[in-house]
Amino acid sequence: MNFFDPLMTAMNKSVSRRDFIRRAGGCSALTSTSILATLLNLRMTGKVLSAPTLGPFNDYKALVCVFLFGGNDSYNMLAPYDDAEHSQYVSKRGGLVSQATGGVAGGIAWPKNDPDHPQYNLRPIAAGTGPNAGRTFGLINSMSNLHSLYNSGRATFIANTGTLVRPTTRADFDAKIDLPKGLFSHNDEQRNWQSSIPQSRSAVQGWAGRIADLLTDPVSPDTISMSIALEKLNVVQTGQNVVPYIVDDANGAKLLEGYPSTSGRYDRIRNNALDGLFPKDDGTLAATYADLLQRTHASANRDAIEAAIAYNAATGSIALNTQFPDTNIGRQAEQVARAIAARETLGHQRQIFFISRGGFDDHSNLVDFNGATPDGQYARLGEVDAAVMALQNALEELESTPGELTNNVVTFSASDFSRTLASNGSGSDHAWGANHFVIGGPNTIHPSVWGNYPTNLRTATHPQYGNLDTDRGRLIPTTSVDEYSAELAMWFGIPDDSNLELVLPNIRNFHSAGGKPIGFLR
């Protein structure tokens, strides 16, 4: 492996800035982020382009990442359903959940046909074209909206996906060849998933951030970033130049507190002083601060104060009849809908959102019962289901022509990892390959179960890949997060050339230019 050479080669040639960024950026992934900054700032800034590398486009598109923190047990979210496969699943997971008819203590498998407890039964998902054609899978009962979205051609699934440096076999795993750093650890795998550079613990930028870098003017970036994060700063949206604008589920942008109030004495005095110190007019600002660091500091503060007010004015004034669930992720989804509705005011032709739900680290009580209604992961996924459905409803409400927004906004799930297939007695532990859902409009989504879902969960095998089990049902992914992200990125407008390689430095280990990496988007 020769991660460092491309940069050095680049440095020894006369290269265009664009090419340089690509190479250095590709490398930044593999080596460091400071290469780019060091070299660009030292020598290349004179040649900086005053326009984004890609765009403008003639359409609007948005990506919404739904991150399930803690490691969603996704083989219980999308389980096998065909009789033989289902019984192998039940066997591997220590039996049916204890409250089900025929369930056992410590069992964590959902039934498919429990006449006494219909609310436990998996919902059938018949795979369409693709590698799993002809098989049926079972969606966790609490995701009823996702089920109907699938049946109306507006949702799709990708199986056994995870962080990989390159295609990895059981033998590679045993020999520890090119494995992601910190497998099975929350922090590491959250970072790996988001950076798409799992071979480095030093990656602090993510693939969506690198997309935003390509679409953003480096000289005069948007005040409100095209990347909007709900509550959490995250790696996936962090780029070299573009960082996410963080908003709150309930209140929108983080306003300067007490501003511009004149009622309280403290705030009145402070606000008057700040108005004087950060003049609103650029000319006055420049005349006040001859020191450019002072001037930049003052304008950064002034712009931050005004941007938050403007953001909240733009998103808050949107009339929205759709009822969002009164949950944290429900309110997050509402903020997304409002920012999409305000896209023109915000000056956004492309938007990337990050919303999340925590609590999926189900070492115990994966399947928890609170009276007749299952708690635990079941209830949590139900919350997610209701939130993403409300977002779809809001998009329909907000679009002026059918499909205008629903076809141009793609919502996709992400998580640290999936969990061990083997039960630990009441839950499951950190693992690797995971199942995910993607939601969008019928013109966008190609509904099926994509990727290679293991054909036998008891033995954790797949005919094409053989043994996928590292131990206890920690599955080696058969599809990489890179392929998953690449398909989203290409749909978003990133050409399948050097641009995609900048966004996803390992992509060519999985996907040669041309065609679709997976096929889940049309």
Binding site: S34, N41, V48, R265, Y266, I305
Partner: protein, 679 residues
């Protein structure tokens, strides 16, 4: 004519014409005599120097240093102050020894833990919950803040903070927030303060080669950059040694990516491009050198990472997993011969690399010196300044107190000392103007953490006595009354990075760098006016860099402003209430505003509105305390006008009303460019 001078003239003219001396600043500082004028000038110099060398000047420190400047002159007084810092506060050679007023974080964090225990009693059950993680992490953060705010060895603490931003190890790997005991019977989370002590505090006045040695064998670094259990190549499985540390020790901890001249400027090769410092063969060779490292007393081929984890003793070398073959690096400049398998030989291999980086490679001195200058003095040191500091570095390569000489070279260089100009104003009344001599080129955005500590230290902070509230367990209360305020002992400052605290707000906090690349990159350049500026020839690469701007975003800017508001709105450093088992405590730090009550200060007389004279004096006091006397006349006027307008329109005579005024003005000033950007 300098812009500031024009401005001063205009103000002066305005004052004279309108005959409103009370509402205008005729000069930065009013003086009643030439003697007082000299005294103010010395205080400004002292405050400015202490801004660089401490976590914030305090009034007594400024006065003491100003007096010495009067007695022996500026440079001699500064050197004497540095020497006192180097010599008067020795720290114990035993890493576990607690010292109340100086030194290491680990013994302080351990003492806090011993005194107060973990927060939640039901730990066993909720081992992985959020509260649990918080429990484990808080003490080391409290310890850092306590040292920054109260330690007498301020220069050592500042240098340690600077080193910690170069030789970065931070939260991230789960083991660092783990409360389980390691094989030294200490909680694993104490491994991070142990690293901070061993590498940064202990070597603050030490030697770079020694620091490299400690860092390389540090178990925390072993975990952070994955040298621990780094095995030699296994042809059977096709595995290779981990390249992480091999790469970063070069890229970030010693020589950097491109060849530098001794003045910090990159060399340009015959092809007109930069010359790279190392190639992939060098990385591969070095990765083979750093093989065989294992946790202390854990020489075994066992794969299980957890076994034998010890974050409190240096790593051992397990000779059977060390690559004994010949290594050729740096295009043959470094050749490490094949040696028979033994622990001593493995250590010899590692020493050969560290010796090369510390003694042979000419990049190391300019690479590290420029970063240190950025932490203390300015973002863009002129080449000749870097060159002089590099000379001090080179002369002391084998001096065990190398950094003492380097620090002196940084702080006493004529570029560092030549930042301010003073101008006596005679009309309409006697006064002193303080002028920043080199705006833009020789300034720096102060780190948000340092602005925060400086604001607190300026007002003699003390822990909130409400820590005394309800204590239902047998542990010592947080705050033991009786001692002098703001001193150590049992009166800890409870400031941490979580909760409503610093890390979320500033994107900067001790132990919380996102990665080994620190909070910001040394070469980050803010977009906009700065990137279009064409600096003088002495600036490296003809481009200004502004590292600290990298963590200012529309989000962090508002968060920072909100944090300062909460900090000042009740004259305490309010980080919210924390629930503990059976008790709620206010994690507040109180600020002492007594100086505004004394000597005719504006808070002094009850039920009397402050006079504009008092307000002017108040603003001058803040200038000296928070801006090293370099607040511009226009900023002063903004603050004065705001106060005037308030006094004209509202009753501001009760103490609480006047305190509002004091707090609001402090809040705005801490955010002002005058305070944020320091010459």
């Amino acid at each position: 004519m300098k812009y500031r001078t024009v401005q001063a003239l205009c103000r002066g003219l305005l004052a004279t014409c309108l005959l409103l001396p009370a509402t205008t600043f005729a000069a930065d500082f009013a003086a009643s005599s030439f003697g007082e004028l000299g005294e103010i000038q010395r205080k400004v110099l002292a405050s400015h120097f202490l801004m660089r060398t401490t976590f914030g000047p305090t009034e007594p420190d400024v006065n003491a240093l100003a007096l010495r400047i009067q007695q022996i002159g500026k440079k001699a007084a500064f050197e004497e102050w540095i020497d006192a810092q180097l010599n008067d506060y020795p720290i114990s050679s035993d890493w576990q020894t607690y010292e109340a007023d100086r030194g290491r974080l680990w013994p302080l964090a351990k003492k806090m833990l011993n005194d107060m225990g973990y927060r939640s009693i039901n730990f066993g059950k909720d081992k992985d919950d959020e509260q649990g993680v918080y429990d484990r992490n808080q003490w080391k953060e409290h310890a850092w803040w306590h040292r920054a705010l109260t330690s007498k060895d301020q220069l050592r603490q500042r240098m340690a903070w600077a080193l910690s931003q170069i030789f970065v190890v931070a939260e991230g790997p789960g083991v660092f927030s783990n409360r389980d005991l390691d094989s030294s019977a200490n909680p694993r989370w104490l491994g991070l303060p142990k690293y901070y002590d061993d590498v940064c505090i202990s070597h603050a006045f030490g030697n770079y080669r020694d620091l490299l040695d400690t860092m390389t064998y540090s178990p925390a670094m072993g975990v952070w950059l994955t040298t621990v259990k780094n095995k030699k190549a296994d042809p059977r499985t096709g595995s290779f040694p981990d390249e992480n540390y091999a790469r970063e020790i070069m890229q970030l901890f010693s020589i950097g990516l491109v060849e530098l001249k001794p003045n910090g400027e990159p060399r340009i090769g015959p092809d007109g491009e930069f010359v790279e410092t190392y190639d992939n063969e060098t990385i591969t060779a070095l990765s083979r050198v750093f093989t065989g490292l294992v946790f202390n007393n854990n020489k075994s081929s066992s794969d299980s990472f957890g076994a034998g984890t010890n974050l409190h003793a240096e790593m051992d070398v397990y000779e059977q997993q060390h690559d004994t073959g010949q290594k050729v690096a740096f295009k043959g400049r470094l050749v490490i011969p094949a040696r028979p398998q033994s622990e001593a030989n493995a250590r010899r291999d590692i020493s050969a690399v560290l010796d090369f980086l510390a003694y042979e490679h000419r990049n190391t001195a300019p690479f590290i010196c420029r970063r240190l200058i950025q932490r203390f003095v300015m973002s863009n040191p002129p080449k000749y300044y870097v060159r002089r500091v590099v000379r001090a570095w080179d002369k002391n390569k084998t001096n065990p107190k190398q950094f003492e000489e380097v620090i002196k070279a940084i702080l006493l260089d004529r570029v560092a000392l030549n930042a301010l100009r003073f101008k006596t104003v005679r009309s309409p009344s006697l006064g002193l103007n303080v002028i920043r001599k080199y705006p833009t080129e020789r300034t720096r955005l102060r780190e948000p953490i340092l602005r925060s500590t400086a604001m607190l230290r300026a007002f003699s902070p003390y822990p909130d006595p409400s820590f005394l509230t309800i204590s239902s367990d047998a542990k010592t209360p947080y705050y033991t009354p009786g001692g002098p305020e703001g001193t150590a002992g049992n009166q800890y400052f409870f400031i941490d990075n979580n909760s409503d605290g610093i890390g979320d707000k500033f994107a900067q906090a001790p132990f919380e760098s996102e990665s080994v690349f620190n909070f910001y990159l040394p070469d980050y350049q803010a977009p906009g006016a700065i990137s279009n500026y064409v600096p003088s020839k002495s600036i490296i690469n003809g481009k200004l860099v502004t590292p600290e701007f990298q963590i200012i975003s529309p989000v962090t800017a508002n968060q920072t402003m909100n944090h300062i508001r909460r900090t000042t709105v009740d004259s305490d450093f309010d980080i919210g209430n924390q629930w503990e088992v059976n008790r709620q405590v206010n994690l507040d730090v109180n600020l002492d505003f007594s100086r505004f009550y004394e000597d005719g200060g504006l808070l002094g007389a009850a039920n009397v509105e402050p006079t504009m004279q008092q307000v002017r004096k108040f603003i001058e006091t803040l200038d000296l305390a928070l801006c090293a006397g370099t607040m511009s006349l226009s900023t002063k006027q903004v603050l004065l006008d705001v106060c005037q307008a308030e006094l004209d329109r509202y009753n501001v005579d009760r103490v609480s009303e006047k305190e509002d005024l004091v707090q609001a003005i402090i809040s705005a000033l801490v955010l002002a460019p005058d305070c944020a950007v320091m010459p």
